[in-house]
């Protein structure tokens, strides 16, 4: 038995990082789900963790949150939205292709235990995916899970069934009302908080959504204050606390790193305005990179990539 275990590790260390499954999510052509064969990471992955991938020799290191894991199969699932060159490149890969590098699991896992009151999980856009393992682990621990997912329109929605299976109450909203409730995720959030005592809220999605969730739960209005965790997916290089590229500021001016202090952090302490400005700091370069890529591959930038 010992010998087998010993060999197992050495064998998996030598394995390439293979894409086992790939499928488009929703009908926007912008969301992709991939299952990667990474047994060592799958063995350790927990809700809240992320991985870093590098597609090819010239590629960036891209952080992606673990959206699901299967310890037996040795796989993890990632979901990403095509926003720039690197995600476009990634989406061009197919089942059977390999990634050059995958490293993880990074970041801190969430605290899972049986809480007295229900937990609300709010997922927006591509942020719906990382909500899944959190809901799953918390549900398995015996918690009541109320899930709210939202997107601009129904084409950008995905994993409704999957999310429903790990939720005790499940609400869908779209900005344009093309599916579920018309409106933003904070509308049902307010109602629920008013309705019953909530242990905590977990919000994962665009920065602006997380900002408004924290404004809803910070106890500033007529609603009670509810502890709120947000998941920060900032710009990173190493993901191990070395570069400080992912750093964010609290409202008190303290500096933290999303990679080693998060990615899940107390949403009420985060200076979202600063973070919003920081997130756009490579906008020009990202556009240039995309333009070069599209020229090279004969894409019309507008048509193929939104």
């Amino acid at each position: 038995m010992f010998l087998i275990k010993n060999e197992y590790y050495f064998n998996v260390l030598k394995m390439p990082y293979k894409i086992l499954k790939k499928k488009d999510l929703g009908s926007s052509n912008m969301l992709v789900e991939m299952e990667l064969e990474v047994p060592l990471i799958a063995k350790k992955a927990r809700a809240g963790n992320f991985i870093l991938i590098r597609i090819n020799e010239k590629g960036e290191r891209i952080p992606l949150t673990v959206a699901d894991y299967d310890r037996n199969k040795g796989t993890i699932t990632i979901v990403f939205q095509i926003v720039g060159k690197s995600t476009k490149l990634l989406s061009d890969l197919n089942e059977g292709n390999e990634l050059l590098d995958v490293v993880g699991p990074l970041g801190n896992e969430i605290h899972v235990k049986r809480y007295e009151n229900p937990i609300i999980i709010v997922g927006g856009g591509v942020g719906i995916a990382p909500c899944y393992p959190q809901a799953k682990e918390l549900k398995e621990a015996g918690n009541k899970i109320i899930t709210i997912i939202g997107a601009r329109n129904k084409d950008l929605l995905f994993w409704k069934e999957k999310m429903a299976t790990v939720s005790d109450e499940f609400i869908v909203c779209t900005d344009d009302g093309s599916e579920g409730r018309k409106g933003v995720v904070t509308d049902p959030l307010k109602e629920i908080i008013k309705r019953e005592t909530i242990d905590h809220v977990i919000a994962i999605g665009p920065l602006i959504m997380m900002k408004f969730v924290t404004l809803t739960t910070n106890g500033s209005g007529d609603l009670p204050k509810v502890k709120t965790w947000v998941s920060l997916n900032t710009i990173m290089i190493d993901g191990t606390g070395m570069c400080g590229g992912c750093r964010f500021s609290t409202l008190d001016g303290e500096i933290y790193f999303a990679c080693v202090d998060g990615p899940d952090v107390d949403g009420h302490s985060v200076d979202f305005d600063n973070l919003l400005k920081r997130s756009g700091r490579f906008k020009d370069q990202e556009e240039e990179s995309m333009r070069c890529y599209c020229q090279e591959h004969g894409y019309s930038q507008k048509k193929e990539v939104q």
Binding site: F2, K5, N6, Y9, F10, L13, L40, I41, K44, R54, K58, G59, E60, R61, K85, S86, L100, D101, V102, V103, G104, P105, L106, I237, D238, T240, G241, M242, C243, G244, G245, R247, F248, S249, G253, I255, V260, D271, N274, K277, R278, R281, F282, Q285, E286, E288, S289, C292
Partner: protein, 904 residues
């Protein structure tokens, strides 16, 4: 009082042993002890005065103690060399590095250190000085019997090469107004060209026959009853020091012997004579002069009536003479009648009277290494100095230096034994002599280290190519010739991984580059890296013997040269490895510490696997140090070498995340080395830290180096460099950031550092490069606020001017802000390079691992942590330091791991 002096105690304890050795009788011993006690008391007194006055002013100290300034200076030199003035910041010349242990005992070390550092001039004085006869002289060098040695250090104190105070060098015996001084030949009264008129002497003597003539005069006048001179042993041309008691024996000793003769080794036998003359080389004259200033063994000194010095360019060991005759003339000494040097050529006379000659410079290489450090051609410390230089054939140049010398010369003249011509300073003869003497004075100073050709600053700030091109084959060879090949090399002790530096340089010298690289790699598997990024100026080159006398050997350049030669020729030289022992060792982190530890263990036969968090190996060598300082191809190539000796490396493996230490134990790893570095950037606490355009040097350099953002958009990782980049910090990382920013197109790069230029920790070479490239250094400047525009992009930095106050814990003067000196620097990018802390990812995953307050791993000196089988080294133990010190820690830990696993 004797209780205060360790030296006196040594003599006291060994009294029987000393008397038994026979150099001193009871009376002499007692007299010597009295002298010694006086001298020791004076020195104790001087030390107290220095402490009291808190200054080392020879004049004032002399007045206070009532001794002459000259004697005071001799004592100060003595104390300095002994290490007693360390508290005043005065250190000994260079021995301190390796003899610290014995210095702690307040005595000098034994003289073998002089031999081992190739400084021995072969005068033989130490043999005579040793009170217990522990030193014997054989075949060009001496042996010291440690069992007999009583560690009194007198041999070292008396040695003319250990230290020779300048005040002695320029002193003259007795006050004499007729004494002149010349830069080239030191003190003298008159200089003559002279020739013997004695027909017997004319036949056998060299040049003018003056030495023999003067000695004959001294015998005839009854001024001496013996002379210490050099005769010939049974081996032809092999000299033998002897006491000559009369004129008849004297003739046998006439004629120059080119082979080194340790004449002073028999000086202790001179007690049976009342008045003697000593004939010898400049170093012997120095030895005798030094004895007159220090109470070292006076009974053998006081009967010396005349010191006759011989001009000497360099001497040759007997074996070197044999080699010279064989290599240059294909002769054995038995077939050589006489050797001579004249007009820049070396002559060899055959039995039949014919002669052959070669230029003098061809025999230089056979010269004794110790002679390289001698600046005395004309035996400056003699009563009278004699040699051929400056006179025509058949004549000798005679420099009369003291009244004693003048009297003797006068008596020979009166006896009509000598014909003379006066030489004035403006004459050609004097100028020739003077020039040659000066050339000896600056032999080593002319031996400059080579310069590497570098890319032009204007050109190089537009590319990421390496700045210096490396030495050419020719320059590397020439540089290798300068190495002294010391017996106890100081450079090796200065190297954190103890590379056998003379060993590899010797192989370059022999043009055996292949052997040279093989040799280096037995000590250090990463020579191309170390040759480039080690601070050699603080390590090996700082310790190099030549450094204390001139310019040190360019050890770094040579190491780089030989490693580049290997790569250029696509040779992959592997060190010899022991057969595998199948014991598994895990190395965590592939930085300099990890790579070194891995290589060392692989050579010892271990099955080594490195786990690296990044997608590339090398740690700080790839993410931190820029391409223009260390091309990444080189790091790759050095890692390839490791793979060739069967080191396995797994990338993307974060121990503490991907795999735990327990997983590694399951994988049957028996020992672990943690070398994860100090990667967590430190932030200064000022407002505006999170503005866009403010980033850590780690981020900036990682983007550019590891992710190759300098080639964006070809590479996907972006980097943003504004028009005016301001780097905060003064270390190598700050320097690298500033120079990278220039190359990425910044119009202006400013470096702000809160201390002054002198305290800057960056390597001098890099600082110099940065200056050449136009970096604007603002010393004594500290940021207090970063100011942004409406989009949170940084636009200004508010700084305050500083001044240096009292020294802080690090010994550097603490910078203090000057009130009301705040001012603004306009800038659109700020790079923080003020240091790093320990990264907690790994250490947090092993809670039982003992850390210090700052989060660094606690280890013993061999890298053993609080957990059995777990070792650590490099920045994660010490905090941010150098590449080579991390390598040193890796090497040490490898030894400890080997020990641990062998005894498991």
């Amino acid at each position: 009082m004797s209780g205060h002096s360790i030296l006196l105690k040594i003599f006291d304890d060994n009294k029987d042993k000393i008397l038994e050795a026979g150099k001193y009788d009871k009376t002499e011993y007692d007299e010597f002890i009295i002298n010694l006690k006086n001298a020791e008391n004076i020195r104790i007194n001087i030390l107290e005065n220095i402490k009291e006055m808190n200054s080392i002013d020879a004049k004032k100290l002399g007045e206070k103690s009532g001794i002459s300034e000259q004697a005071m200076q001799c004592n100060i030199e003595y104390l300095k060399e002994l290490g007693s003035l360390k508290f005043m910041g005065e250190t000994s010349r260079f021995f301190q590095n390796i003899i610290d242990e014995s210095l702690k005992k307040d005595t000098f070390p034994n003289v073998s250190i002089i031999r081992d550092t190739n400084l021995c001039c072969g005068c033989g004085l130490c043999v005579s000085i040793c009170p217990v006869n522990a030193i014997t002289y054989i075949e060009g060098t001496f042996e010291l019997n440690e069992e007999i040695c009583i560690n009194c250090g007198l041999c070292f104190a008396g040695c003319p090469r250990s230290f020779f105070p300048r005040v002695i060098k320029h002193s003259n015996e007795g006050i004499n107004t007729t004494i002149k001084h010349s830069e080239s030949v030191n003190n003298y009264m008159e200089i003559y060209s002279a020739q013997t008129q004695d027909t017997q002497i004319k036949q056998v003597a060299q040049d003018g026959g003056i030495v023999t003539t003067l000695l004959k005069t001294a015998f005839q006048e009854g001024l001496i009853d013996a002379t210490l001179a050099v005769g010939e042993s049974e081996n032809p041309h092999c000299p033998l020091p002897m006491f000559v008691r009369n004129e008849i024996e004297l003739l046998k000793t006439s004629g120059t012997k080119y082979s080194n003769t340790p004449s002073l080794k028999i000086l202790s036998q001179s007690k049976k004579f009342n008045k003697i003359a000593v004939v010898g080389t400049p170093c012997m004259m120095e030895a005798l002069k030094k004895m007159s200033f220090y109470p070292l063994n006076k009974p053998f000194y006081e009967n010396i009536s005349f010191k006759i010095g011989l001009f000497c360019m360099e001497s040759f060991d007997y074996n070197s003479i044999l080699e010279l005759l064989h290599n240059e003339f294909d002769r054995s000494p038995a077939h050589v009648k006489k050797m001579d040097i004249d007009k820049g050529r070396f002559y060899l006379y055959n039995e039949d009277g014919t002669s052959v000659d070669i230029p003098l410079k061809r025999i230089k290489k056979y010269g004794r290494l110790g002679c390289f450090f001698c600046d005395d051609l004309t035996a400056e410390q003699a009563d009278i100095s004699i040699g051929s230089i400056g006179s025509e054939s058949g004549w000798s140049t005679v420099i009369i230096r003291t009244q004693k010398g003048a009297d003797l010369f006068e008596r020979a003249l009166k006896r009509n034994l000598i014909d003379k011509k006066k030489i004035n300073e403006e004459e050609k003869s004097f100028i020739t002599l003077s020039n040659i003497a000066k050339s000896k004075q600056k032999t080593y100073k002319d031996n400059r280290r080579p310069k590497m050709i570098e890319q032009e600053p204007k050109k190089r700030i537009k590319n990421f190519d390496e700045v210096p091109f490396g030495l050419t084959e020719d320059l590397a060879f020439k540089e290798s010739l300068r190495c002294l090949q010391c017996g106890r090399p100081l450079c090796v002790t200065g190297c954190p991984v103890n590379i056998d530096i003379p060993g590899f340089i010797k192989r370059i010298k022999l043009k055996k580059n292949f052997d040279a690289i093989h040799h280096i790699k037995t000590y250090n598997l990463l020579p191309a890296i170390c040759g480039r990024v080690c601070p050699q100026e603080l390590q090996c080159e700082n310790s190099c013997l030549l450094n204390s006398l001139g310019e040190p050997i360019s050890i770094g350049y040579l190491e780089r040269y030989i490693a580049d030669w290997e790569r250029k020729n696509q040779l992959k030289e592997c060190p010899d490895c022991k057969p595998t022992n199948n014991k598994k060792v895990a190395i965590i982190g592939s930085g300099p510490a990890g790579l070194t530890c891995a290589g060392e263990l692989a050579m010892k036969g271990y099955d080594v696997t490195i786990f690296e968090a990044f997608h590339e190996g090398g740690g700080v060598l790839v993410y931190g140090i820029p391409e223009f300082r260390l091309p990444k191809e080189i790091v790759k190539s050095e890692i390839e070498t490791l793979k060739m000796i069967n080191v396995k490396i797994h990338y993307n493996s974060i121990i503490g995340k991907t795999l735990s230490i327990d997983d590694l134990r399951e994988m049957r790893f028996k020992a672990f080395f943690i070398g994860v570095g100090a990667g967590l950037p430190i932030f200064i606490q000022v407002p505006g830290l999170n503005l866009n355009g403010v980033l850590t040097a780690n981020e900036f350099l990682t983007r550019s180096n590891l992710m190759k953002a300098y080639r964006f958009p070809e590479y996907d990782t972006p980097i943003r460099v504004g028009k005016v980049v301001t780097v905060v910090g003064g270390g190598n990382v700050a320097m690298d950031s500033a120079r990278t920013a220039l190359r990425l197109g910044a119009e202006k790069v400013i470096m702000v550092y809160r201390r002054s230029e002198a305290e800057m920790p960056a390597r001098k070479e890099e600082y110099h490069h940065g200056k050449e490239e136009g970096i604007d250094f603002r010393f004594l400047t500290d940021p207090i606020r970063f100011i942004g525009d409406e989009n949170d992009n940084v636009k200004e930095m508010e700084v305050v001017s500083m001044e240096l106050g009292e020294p802080d814990a690090s010994g550097r003067r603490r910078p203090l802000p000057i009130p009301n000196s705040e001012h603004i620097i306009e800038t659109d990018t700020i790079i923080l390079a003020i240091g790093a802390n320990a990264n907690p990812i790994l250490t947090r995953s092993i809670p039982e691992l003992k850390l210090n307050k700052r989060g660094y791993i606690e280890t013993d000196e061999n890298g053993q942590t609080s957990i059995e089988g777990v070792f650590a080294g490099g920045d994660i133990v010490t905090g941010s330091a150098t590449v080579i010190s991390a390598m040193g820690a890796g090497k040490k830990a490898a030894g400890a791991i080997d020990n641990y696993l062998t005894n498991l």
